[in-house]
Every structure is written in structure tokens, then in C-alpha cells.
């Protein structure tokens, strides 16, 4: 594949492409579905996806085919597919584009996944704010249903897949797969304790697969062009295919860029996103959404694939790359994200619930120049005490801005504290209270 061949964004980049069924079919859409349903055994579809090396694009990067393989083979009752379209990770805005510009690509992926896992119902859990996206999807479902791609007896194969759009109502945590299921069941979006995993006890306690929009959108291509084709893109063997990277922050041309995995951050930012917006140099970046630890200019040549980013001490996550220029206060940036996490902690686990409120208040105090040196130790302790001790990965996520900024820019915290000490603004009550 030439370096910049587009896969997922290809159709929508064509001038005049509207995302209608007709446009999608003209571009070769639903061929994968025609050639797969009833023609290839569902287990072979799963094998194909395994071979392609496709890993989840939602954040955790779990191999998609392997996840499907966890569903109980002999289970008789209903199974479900949930398309995770909650896209709430700050810095991430690719699923929105995939759904709003080329909804049928997502739908085709959904039907293929349902076929592979033998599910007759799929719910697209879309974040509540995306009203336009949900309307576009609903219209597309209507078109696909009329054309026989969705519904009972798809294209005469006897296969049934029904798809519904379910709007969330404003809660980041509902992107976490088990919280998503709870929310879809009409409850508060609190993550479930795992095990059991959704593969055996998912929606309505039935075997369920949750996959991200982008993950699913890859399926028609994998099935059309073969797993070997897919596996040859990116950084094989472990990070195959393209990613839609969402670039935001202080760059000239922020936006979504589909590139093979393994592209360097330098190339993404300076070749594709147009470089820094002003003449200030790059100071920091987040490689994979708000949950991913900050990295420094030293990491500009890190390859954007799962392993390399992890090795650099961060994570590829949702593919949201946020760039910050020199002059940005890292304490302020971490605080902004901490405010997000504080606002979004569901409140189920005590370390996350109480820790997020404690962290945010301490950070605000430091920012307001009312901090003390011992606060830094407290911050570090609190972060350590939250990470790994919660029901879901939110706990690990919420501490990464503070942990990583403390690691790379501790002096900025120290400066603020020195300013505080100089101004003698420390409140007496902040010296520690008795229980």
C-alpha cells in the first residue's frame, strides 16, 4: 500500500460523496456483506479477523477476533452486539466523522460482526450529544433495511440482524463497555465488576460483544481485501491497519488523519497537521486521548503503534493526539483534564470518587498559588493509590495527566508553590486536620 492510501476515510474524501446508500454502493459498499453472509461460515469470519491482526480502536486495543472467540459456542439464547459510539474521550472525534460521513460503512461492519458472532440484534450506543449523528445513522438504517441489508432474512440468506440506535445522555463513563451495557439497560452507567465478562454475561446477561465504531468500520475492508492485506499495513505483527488519528491543540491544521499505524508523531504533526500553529515549539503532547500520559519533544520519533507508545510510557488509546506549544502551563493542562475526570467519575469506587475530588481540589489550590511542597507528595500518593484499585480503567486514566506532568514538568509545580510561599497565601487550615 502506498504510504497514504486511505481505507476508512476514502469514500468520504471523494468530492460529492454524501454517505447515502447509493453513494456507498457505488463505491463498492455492501459487497463484503454480499460475499460473506451465508457464503463464509461465521467462525471463518472470526478467523479472518483474527488473522488480520485487527485490534480494538476504542482504547484498550484488544484483538477483535480473539474477543469474538470468547463467546460461548453452544449457547442457545440471544446474543448481542453493541457498537460503542460513545466517543467521549477528550481529544477524540473520529467516530463522529465515520458515522456522520459514511454511516453505511459502520453499518456494514456491524452486520458482519453480528454474523460472525451469531447475534440478531445490535445496538449502536451513541453519545447523547451527537443528535445529528444519531439521525444520520437512523436514516441510513432505514435505507439499509429497505434494501435488505438489515432486518429479517438479509438478502434472502435467512440471516436476521436488526440494528437500533440508542442515544446515551451525557456520561463519559458509558464508553466503558460494562457501563455502556448498564446504561443501555436503562440504569445508571456504573461499570460492572469483571469477571464475568460481557462475552458471557453482557447485555441482559446474555453473551455480548462491544466494539468501537472504527473497529467495526474496518471489517468490510478486511473481508473484501483479505486479512493478509490488512496485516501488511502499519507495524505488523502487533499493530496492523490504519488508524484515524485525531489531532487537536496548537497545530495549524487540526483534524482527522488516517495513517498506517506506526507513523511517528513527528510526521503526523509536522507533515500532516501542518506543524505548530505559531512559531512556538512543541512542548508536550498526549498520544492517545485524555487518559494517556503526556509525552515530551523527546518522544517525537516514537511510532504511533500500541507497543511503541506503551514503551515510551504512554498509550495509543483512542488515537486522540493533542499538541501543546511552549508556554502552555502543564499544571493548568493537567488540572483541566483532572476537572474532566472529576466531573465524569461515576462514583462507584471510593478511590476514584474521593480521589478525583481530592486531586482536583489540590490541583486548583496549587494553580491558585496556595500550594505547599508536601502537596506534591500527596498528589503522587493519591495517584498511586487510585491506579489499579478501581473497578474499571477510569481510575488508571484519571491519574495519568498528573502523574505524567509531575514526572516531566515537576519544576512547574514547584514554581507555583514557590510563588505561593512568596506571597504567603497558605491557609492555616491546609496544614492538616484531625479526622
Amino acid at each position: 500500500m502506498p504510504k497514504h492510501e486511505l481505507v476508512l476515510l476514502k469514500n468520504m474524501m471523494q468530492p460529492g460523496y454524501t454517505g447515502s446508500l447509493a453513494d456507498y454502493e457505488k463505491a463498492g459498499g455492501y459487497q463484503a456483506l454480499r460475499n460473506t453472509l451465508g457464503k463464509i461460515a461465521p467462525t471463518d469470519v472470526t478467523t479472518t479477523v483474527m488473522k488480520s491482526g485487527l485490534r480494538g480502536r476504542g482504547g484498550a486495543g484488544f484483538p477483535t477476533g480473539v474477543k469474538w472467540g470468547f463467546l460461548p459456542k453452544d449457547y442457545q439464547g440471544p446474543r448481542y452486539l453493541c457498537c460503542n459510539a460513545d466517543e467521549s474521550e477528550p481529544g477524540t472525534f473520529k467516530d463522529r466523522q465515520l458515522m456522520e460521513r459514511d454511516p453505511h460503512q459502520v453499518l456494514e461492519g456491524i452486520v458482519l460482526a453480528c454474523y460472525a458472532i451469531n447475534a440478531e440484534s445490535a445496538y449502536i450506543y451513541i453519545r447523547g450529544e451527537m443528535v445529528l449523528g444519531s439521525k444520520i445513522l437512523e436514516r441510513a438504517i432505514g435505507e439499509a433495511r429497505a434494501a435488505g441489508y438489515i432486518g429479517k432474512n438479509i438478502l434472502g440468506t435467512g440471516i436476521t440482524v436488526d440494528v437500533w440506535v440508542h442515544r446515551g445522555a451525557g456520561a463519559y463513563i458509558c464508553g466503558e463497555e460494562t457501563a455502556l451495557l448498564e446504561s443501555l439497560e436503562g440504569k445508571r452507567g456504573l461499570p460492572r465488576v469483571k469477571p464475568p465478562f460481557p462475552a458471557t454475561h453482557g447485555l441482559y446477561n446474555k453473551p455480548t460483544v462491544v466494539n468501537n465504531v472504527e473497529t467495526l468500520a474496518n471489517l468490510p475492508h478486511i473481508l473484501s481485501r483479505g486479512p493478509e492485506w490488512f496485516a501488511s499495513i502499519g507495524s505488523p505483527p502487533k499493530s496492523t491497519g490504519t488508524r484515524v488519528f485525531c489531532v487537536s491543540g496548537h497545530v495549524k491544521r487540526p483534524g482527522n488523519y488516517e495513517l498506517p499505524m506506526g507513523v511517528t508523531i513527528r510526521e503526523l504533526v509536522f507533515e500532516h497537521a501542518g506543524g505548530m500553529r505559531s512559531d512556538k515549539p512543541l512542548k508536550a503532547f498526549i498520544p492517545g486521548g485524555a487518559s494517556a500520559p503526556f509525552l515530551t519533544p523527546d518522544h517525537l520519533d516514537v511510532k504511533l503503534d500500541f507497543e511503541s507508545v506503551a514503551a515510551a510510557g504512554s498509550m495509543l488509546g483512542s488515537g486522540g493526539v493533542t499538541v501543546m506549544e511552549e508556554g502552555t502551563s502543564m499544571v493548568w493542562a493537567a488540572l483541566r483534564l483532572m476537572e474532566f475526570f472529576y466531573h465524569e467519575s461515576c462514583g462507584k469506587c471510593s478511590p476514584c470518587r474521593e480521589g478525583s475530588s481530592w486531586l482536583v481540589q489540590t490541583m486548583r489550590r496549587i494553580m491558585a498559588r496556595r500550594g505547599q511542597m508536601q502537596d506534591l507528595e500527596t498528589l503522587t500518593d493519591l495517584c498511586k493509590n487510585i491506579a489499579g484499585r478501581t473497578v474499571c480503567a477510569f481510575g488508571d486514566a484519571e491519574v495519568s495527566p498528573i502523574m505524567s506532568t509531575l514526572k516531566h514538568w515537576r519544576h512547574e509545580y514547584v514554581t507555583l508553590i514557590h510563588e505561593a510561599e512568596a506571597a504567603n497565601l497558605i491557609r492555616p487550615e491546609s496544614m492538616g486536620t484531625r479526622h
Binding site: Y342, G347, R353, S357, N385, E429, M431
Partner: protein, 889 residues
């Protein structure tokens, strides 16, 4: 006991290797080796939620610490609960939980019994690193009985989960998100729920407390005593806590009693009757027409003198006695011994007559027991449950929890025949959990049972060996059932052949099938026949004598079962054995050294008739109030007025007591020792928790004293001596173990029944009850048990009066529309018996055409009721009537 999975796994905890059943949670396994893992959100009654993260432990081969409360042990697992890493984790989680916790321990009622306090003491430094502002919730009024202080909440959600998972009430909501999550109820009015007190009990901190005892105590000031609740037949164990003889609080410990820590509103909030200011504190004697205070000596001597005179002149047949099933076994026993030996009569009765007799007689006849052949554990383990006329949430709430557990946690199939619509309300509704619900009028419960029986025979679900070995029974019953038409059954019950067939299939498929029936059926004129039909149903299915199967009739009053077993009814001597049973009599004579009278006794209604006609001249009424509880046409007042001697033993001056010649103040169950026998036949110790009010004495002491004065001394110095005599005479009272050993169906009795015994009243029992006509403008009024009341004691309990302080007639929404009524309107109810007015309240669960009046508020409406008596069991039927209803403007 139900047999849980026999599979075990071996796990090593802190170096100790033990075998535990597969599926055991780590936290429980650790407890067994003595490792107490700190926790807040875990509670053995609830599904693990693992939200507090307090219980983290190290599990070998797992990279992260695991929550012991949600991790089932696996074979070969190795766990460490006390390493530095684990301790640090506990400390840090606690630091988080304490961060926002207020430091108001000095004014917190949980102080001294607070998990947070205890763990903090164990784990944390005395200063906090938390230098920020603590979260503060706006204080909101919650309810008259329950106080919330949400700043103290640790958000473990135990209260919310309990209210849902155990109670099925779902009155509590975690509101909001994150740190600002707050436990609330819904709506602008105070909390409206079952008031079981479960949230108060299960809260590990002081966020939810009882208002009845607010700020009154510190736990270490309290004296505790375990006893048995005196309200209903469930027989819950309660811990009564007192301070200087004042009643402060009642609760119940997890793992204790048949209720295993659960209580209902009566048990939890209803303990104040004992300390009510209107309690009788001195004997009263009638002088110049009015009751005046007197001494025990004068009162007892007067009674002895009068009784002696009457006995001399008219013989033992001139006496009658009535006792409440709320007395202890010892008192019931001594009462009947006093009546029989001292006064020389079998004319005695107890409140068990109102319904419990029906089921006992039916069980004796068919299976040769007077008790359940199952236990509460069998209810929980049942795979199919059939409920008939139980009104279980209101009448026997804790047995109701066993049913909920079976259905909600263990996926049992529930079939219900209840006069109840499935509807969500502020108290739970068993019909909501039912897979096959027959909403049937109480007068037609038996029709629905017949429908099930008919479906069983028509679907060929009759047990094969029964068909082979007992063909005469099967043929006779089948023939009768075939005469019934599905059309008629459908008209009467609203359910057709297929619905019955589906339920019958479920019953037949069940391995552990328990039929539970209650006072809705047993207190109706169909009570005896209905109980017989249910036993026949179990026989046909081949389940009656199978392990884990059986009939479980629910006793309404706490010791109705004991009353019958003690022989406190006309037809039974202790045992119970029939007064006419020679070998039974011999055994009694053996112990008593004297023979009980030979003349058969009469039951309550006949006693009253004889009093009116002058044949009975003296009555001893103990804790019963027939004047208020029996309908007007029985003319109780006229009967009692005729008596030369009426002695009442009472806690309060009831309407009946006000007519007495002598009123003797007695102890409440919190003031005395003894035993109660609960609905499943479990005998449990009742213990004194406070000193008697004034000069009140236990009832048994009074019988003992009088017997002495009358020259046939029944001498006992303490109730335990009476229990000893009971043990020698009555099987099942041998030891007071933690769980009952259920009776076994008697083969010989069953054989006798199946060969000829069934024939006697076959025609009657296999005839459909008449469908009462209900002309336009009328409703069928039923007296139903309220969850919050069970008689005069509940009416004197300030907590319960706050929840439900006055009566209202519950009507269906459709009737409300039809009659143009809204909550609070008054209606006039009238029929040929009389006329009353009542306030209405619309309730979704009331079936159309029915109107429920809470029993125990019923004195006024009693005017509308008539009384029919069961010829077989002498049970008076006084619960249903029909009346025309009009709105009063």
C-alpha cells in the same frame, strides 16, 4: 436443609489451607481461617458490588490486588490478607473514604458500632492529609421514622441494594454522580415504603438511623436481650436494647434467628406498645358499676370466690375461656390446664380458631401432622412455589422474603392465587414476581385451586404410582373435576384452561414444590375445604411426602401454632390430641394425675351463644377482645353482659375488658419468659427484656395463683417448669435448636386417607364455590391485614401509628373513577347489616370491585359483616361482605 453444591475447592489463605464449597467468596473463606478482611459494601445478603475497594487482598499470580468480596475462591488459589502491600491498600482506601467524611462522631448515633470508626482506629493516622473542603449535602427531611445524614454516607449502596434485592421495594435511589451521589427517596413528600428498617440496620456508618432513638444513647450504655417478636407467626428473633429499663431500640443480627437479621416495620419500629402510658398497671375491680383500682389479693380472692360459687352451683360446664395466640406456650398450656382441671370444662378457645384451625385439621386428616413438613429453608430452596391467599407481604413479611429470595436469587417459578393485582407501589407486591398469577376474589380462591387440579388430571400430570396404587382416589377426584366446566372456571377466575395448564405443568415439573397458603384462604368459609383441595393437589402431583415439598399454612398471630399444640382449643388436649382420643387422654392423665373433663367443649361462637342463653355463667378472656373483633350480628355485648363473672387479663383497657368484673394487668411479651412456636413449628425462647409495667404479672402466674385459691393447685415457680411439663407431653418441644426439624408426613394416615378417608366430604370440596353477586353500586369489602398493624399492640406503638395512624378503605383506580372518588374522599357503605362511613384511598393493587379495609381498624366496619361458621372446624368466617358505596359530600 437444602443441599448446596457438594463440590469443594482448596484454598490457602495466609498459609492456612482449607476446603470450602465452590463459589465461596474469598472474604467468607478468609473468615473461616480467622482473617477478618475490612469491608463496607460487602454484605452476605447482597450480591457483591465491590464498590468500596476496602477488601483488597493479594492473590498469587494476579498482578493487581483483588477485592475479596467479589472474588470466588478457585482451586489452588493462594491468598494473602495481611502483607504490607495489602495493609497499605487498606490504609489508602480508608484515607479516601475518610476524606469527605464529617467528624461528627460525638453526635452520631452510630458511634461505637460504626465500621468506619473501627477500621479507622485500626488503620489510620490521627491526622488527615485532606486539606480541602469537605463535601456538604443540603439536609433534607427524609421520613418520620428514618433519619438520613448524607454527609456521613460512604456510598457503599448497601441500603439501596438491600431495598431492591432483599425487600423488592426499591424505594431508595442513589441520586447524582461522583462524590455528590446522595441516597434519596423520590418525590416532594417524605419517604413512603415498607419501613422494614433494613436500610438503618445495613448502613455501616451513621448515614441512616432510626428517629425513634435519635441522640438517646451510646451503644455501650445499652443492655441487650435476645427474644422473639410478638407480632406475627414468622417468629423473628429480635435484640431488644434498653437503657435503665427504657426501651431504646430493637434490631436483629445477621445470622440470628429464623429471620436472619431481617425485620418488618412492626418488628423494627413497633416496640413501644410495652411502654405506652395507657398500660394497665393495677388490677381493677367493678364496684357499684365502675371499674376501680384494687390489689392483687382482693382481685384474685374475688375471682376465686365467684368462680368457686358458680362451679358449686352449676358445674364446670358453666365456664368458658378464650385466650390469645399471642401468649407464650407456657401460658397457653397452663390456661387450658386451668380451664380443664381447675374449672372442669373443655369450653375453651383461642385466636387460632379464626383460621389456623382449618389448616391444622386438614393436615391432620391427610398427612397426620399438625405442622409444616417443610421449613423456611425449603421455601428458599423450592423450585416451584404456589401461594394461595397469603397476602404475604402484609401478613407474614419475613416468610415473604424467603419467597422473594427463591424467585429473585434462585429463579424459582412462582404461581400465585391472590386477590391482588400486580402493580408497583410503595410496598412490595408478590404478584409482580409471579410467573402465573391468578387474580381471584377471596371467596373464589378455591375455584382457582380446582382449576389447577383439573388441569393436572387433564394434562396427565397425576403421579404414576398414585394412579396405579390409589386408583379409587384418583378416579373419584378425576370424576369430580371433570364435572366442572372450564367455562365456569374462566368466568369466576378470569383465567382459562391454557393458563391453568401452564401453571399445572410448572407444578408437575418442580422437584421441590411448596404450597403456601395464608389467612386469605384459611379465614374464609372455604378455608378448610381449600386446604383440603391443596393437599389433594399435592397428592395428585405425587409431591406431598417428597423431600422439600409440602403445604405451609401461615399463622397470622405469633403463637397461633403454639395455641393449638398446647391444647388451648376446645377439641384438643395438649399434643394436640383430640379430647376424645383415649390413648391421648391416657398420656395426659399420666402426667396430670387427673383426668380432663369428658364432656366435649364448644368453640368460641357457641360459647358466646351459651353465655347469651345463660348456660355459661363465667368467662375468662385472656388478651382477646371479641367485642371489637367480632361482627355485630354475633351480639357479643349481649352475651358478655349476661355473665355472672367476666375476668379479663389485659395490657390495655379494651372494649371487652371495660365490661369485665375484674381486669388483671399482665405482662407484654417483652416483660416475661417463655416460648413461642412460629408458623413453621419452630419453638423459640422468649426472654424478659424489661421490668413489668406497674404490677403487671405474666398470665401463667395468674392461672397458677387462682388454681391454688380454687383448691386444685397448679404450682409452678417459673415458666421453665411449665415448659418441662410441656416437653414430657408434646413432641417437638424437646430442644430449642437454631432451626426446626420438620414433621414428616405419616404414611399410615396418608394410606387411610387415600383408601377411604377422602370420601367423607368429597362432593362439597369438589363443588365450585358460589360466585357472590355484586350488583352495580356495590363493592365487596374485605378485611385485610395491614403491613403496619396486627392488633392492639401495634395500635399503641408510636412508630407504627406514625406510619399508618388511621384507617382508609383501599379501592381500585377504576372504581375511584366510577364512583367519582379521589384520595381522602369519604364514602358511605351500607348493607342490610348496617351503615358506616369511611375515608378512601386509591391503590393500584386492589382489584376492581373490591375494597380493602385494614383489619384492626375494623371496629366500625364490623357492623357490615355477618358471620358464617364452618361446620367441620367451627371457624367463624367474618372477613368479607358486600355493601353499596356512595360518596358523601
Amino acid at each position: 436443609m437444602p443441599n448446596t453444591s457438594a463440590e469443594t475447592v482448596r484454598v490457602t489463605i495466609d498459609g492456612h489451607t482449607i476446603s470450602v464449597p465452590k463459589g465461596t467468596l474469598l472474604i467468607e473463606a478468609a473468615r473461616r481461617v480467622g482473617a477478618m478482611i475490612p469491608h463496607f459494601c460487602y454484605h452476605p445478603k447482597l450480591k457483591p458490588d465491590a464498590n468500596c475497594r476496602m477488601c483488597l487482598v493479594e492473590v498469587e499470580k494476579m498482578p493487581k490486588l483483588q477485592t475479596a468480596c467479589s472474588t470466588p475462591v478457585a482451586e489452588g488459589m493462594s491468598v494473602r490478607t495481611a502483607t504490607t502491600v495489602v495493609n497499605d491498600a487498606h490504609k489508602s482506601v480508608l484515607e479516601f473514604i475518610l476524606a469527605n467524611h464529617p467528624l461528627d462522631c460525638p453526635v452520631c448515633d452510630q458511634g461505637g458500632k460504626c465500621d468506619l470508626q473501627d477500621f479507622s482506629h485500626q488503620y489510620t493516622a490521627t491526622t488527615s492529609r485532606f486539606a480541602e473542603t469537605k463535601r456538604i449535602f443540603q439536609k433534607e427531611y427524609f421520613s418520620p421514622l428514618i433519619e438520613t445524614q448524607m454527609n456521613r454516607c460512604v456510598q457503599c449502596l448497601r441500603c439501596v441494594r438491600y431495598c431492591d434485592e432483599v425487600m423488592d421495594v426499591k424505594a431508595l435511589a442513589p441520586v447524582g454522580r461522583g462524590t455528590m451521589t446522595e441516597i434519596k427517596h423520590f418525590g416532594a413528600h417524605p419517604l413512603d415504603c415498607e419501613f422494614c428498617g433494613g436500610c438503618v440496620q445495613i448502613c455501616p456508618v451513621g448515614a441512616i438511623t432510626s428517629r425513634l432513638s435519635m441522640y438517646e444513647y451510646r451503644p455501650w450504655m445499652l443492655k441487650r436481650a435476645e427474644t422473639i417478636c410478638g407480632y406475627c407467626g414468622d417468629g423473628c428473633q429480635i435484640t431488644v436494647q434498653t437503657k435503665n429499663n427504657d426501651l431504646i431500640e430493637v434490631n436483629s443480627a445477621y445470622g440470628a434467628g429464623r429471620n436472619n437479621g431481617d425485620l418488618c416495620a412492626k418488628g423494627f419500629f413497633g416496640f413501644h406498645a410495652t411502654s405506652h402510658p395507657e398500660r394497665l398497671t393495677h388490677p381493677l375491680i367493678r364496684k357499684n358499676g365502675t371499674l376501680v383500682q384494687t390489689t392483687w389479693e382482693e382481685a384474685l380472692e374475688f375471682i376465686a370466690e365467684q368462680a368457686g360459687r358458680i362451679k358449686q352451683a352449676h358445674g364446670g360446664q358453666a365456664f368458658g375461656g378464650l385466650i390469645t395466640g399471642r401468649c407464650t406456650n407456657e401460658e397457653l398450656y397452663l390456661f387450658q390446664k386451668f380451664m380443664r382441671l381447675t374449672l372442669g370444662t373443655n369450653h375453651l378457645d383461642s385466636s387460632a380458631r379464626y383460621g389456623q384451625m382449618n389448616s391444622v385439621q386438614a393436615m391432620r386428616r391427610v398427612q397426620g401432622t399438625h405442622r409444616w413438613t417443610v421449613t423456611f429453608e425449603d421455601l428458599e430452596a423450592a423450585d416451584v412455589l404456589l401461594l394461595v391467599g397469603t397476602n404475604i407481604t402484609e401478613t407474614n413479611p419475613i416468610t415473604g422474603l424467603a419467597i422473594k429470595e427463591a424467585v429473585k436469587k434462585r429463579q424459582a417459578t412462582l404461581i400465585t392465587i391472590e386477590s391482588l393485582l400486580p402493580a408497583i407501589g410503595t410496598i412490595s407486591n408478590i404478584a409482580n414476581l409471579s410467573q402465573h398469577h391468578f387474580c381471584v376474589s377471596p371467596t373464589l380462591f378455591r375455584t382457582a385451586i380446582l382449576g389447577l387440579q383439573k388441569a393436572v388430571v387433564e394434562q396427565n400430570l397425576v403421579a404414576a404410582d398414585l394412579t396405579q396404587q390409589r386408583s379409587s382416589f384418583v378416579t373419584a377426584v378425576t370424576a369430580r373435576l371433570q364435572q366442572l366446566s372450564w367455562q365456569d372456571i374462566q368466568t369466576a377466575t378470569g383465567a382459562g384452561q391454557e393458563t391453568y395448564a401452564a401453571a399445572a405443568q410448572a407444578l408437575a415439573k418442580g422437584k421441590r414444590v411448596v404450597v403456601v397458603t395464608g389467612q386469605g384462604l384459611l379465614r374464609s368459609d372455604q378455608g378448610y375445604a381449600g386446604a383440603m383441595n391443596l393437599l389433594d393437589l399435592l397428592l395428585l402431583l405425587g409431591k406431598l411426602d417428597q423431600p422439600g415439598c409440602g403445604l405451609a399454612p401461615l399463622a397470622e398471630e405469633n403463637n397461633d401454632q403454639g395455641a393449638i399444640e398446647m391444647g388451648a382449643v376446645a377439641e384438643f388436649l395438649p399434643g394436640p390430641v383430640e379430647t376424645t382420643d383415649q390413648s391421648g387422654r391416657d398420656r395426659v392423665v399420666d402426667i396430670w394425675k387427673e383426668a380432663p373433663p369428658a364432656t366435649e367443649g364448644v368453640a368460641l361462637i357457641e360459647m358466646l351463644a351459651r353465655a347469651k342463653s345463660g348456660r355459661i355463667k363465667a368467662m375468662f378472656i385472656v388478651g382477646e377482645n371479641p367485642l371489637a373483633s367480632l361482627p355485630a350480628p354475633l351480639e357479643v355485648r349481649e352475651s358478655l353482659d349476661k355473665l355472672d363473672l367476666l375476668v379479663c387479663q389485659e395490657l390495655f383497657l379494651t372494649d371487652t375488658a371495660a365490661l369485665a368484673h375484674v381486669v388483671l394487668p399482665v405482662c407484654s411479651s417483652l416483660e416475661k419468659d417463655g416460648t413461642f412456636t412460629n408458623t413453621e413449628g419452630h419453638v423459640q425462647a422468649v426472654r424478659q427484656t424489661v421490668e413489668p409495667s406497674g404490677e403487671a404479672r405474666p398470665d401463667w402466674e395468674i392461672f397458677s395463683a387462682l388454681s391454688g385459691l380454687l383448691g386444685t393447685p397448679l404450682d409452678y415457680t417459673e415458666s421453665r417448669e411449665i415448659l418441662k411439663e410441656i416437653r414430657s407431653l408434646i413432641p417437638g418441644y424437646g430442644s430449642l435448636g437454631p432451626a426446626p426439624l420438620p414433621a414428616k408426613a405419616d404414611r399410615a394416615t396418608m394410606d387411610r386417607y387415600l383408601s377411604r378417608g377422602f370420601e367423607r366430604d368429597l362432593a362439597g370440596r369438589y363443588q365450585m364455590p358460589r360466585t357472590p353477586s355484586r350488583p352495580d353500586g356495590t363493592v365487596q369489602i374485605e378485611l385485610v391485614q395491614s403491613l403496619f398493624h396486627s392488633g392492639k399492640l401495634s395500635m399503641k406503638s408510636k412508630g407504627l401509628i406514625q406510619i399508618e395512624g388511621r384507617s382508609s378503605l383501599r379501592i381500585s383506580p377504576r372504581d375511584a373513577t366510577r364512583f367519582g372518588l379521589v384520595d381522602g374522599n369519604r364514602v358511605r357503605l351500607s348493607n342490610s347489616q348496617g351503615e358506616v362511613t369511611a375515608e378512601v384511598k386509591v391503590a393500584d393493587r386492589v382489584p376492581e370491585g373490591h375494597a380493602w379495609f385494614p383489619d384492626h381498624f375494623s371496629q366500625e366496619v364490623n357492623k357490615l359483616f355477618a358471620c358464617v361458621m364452618d361446620t367441620e372446624t367451627k371457624v367463624p368466617y367474618i372477613r368479607t361482605t358486600s355493601a353499596s358505596m356512595v360518596k358523601v359530600s
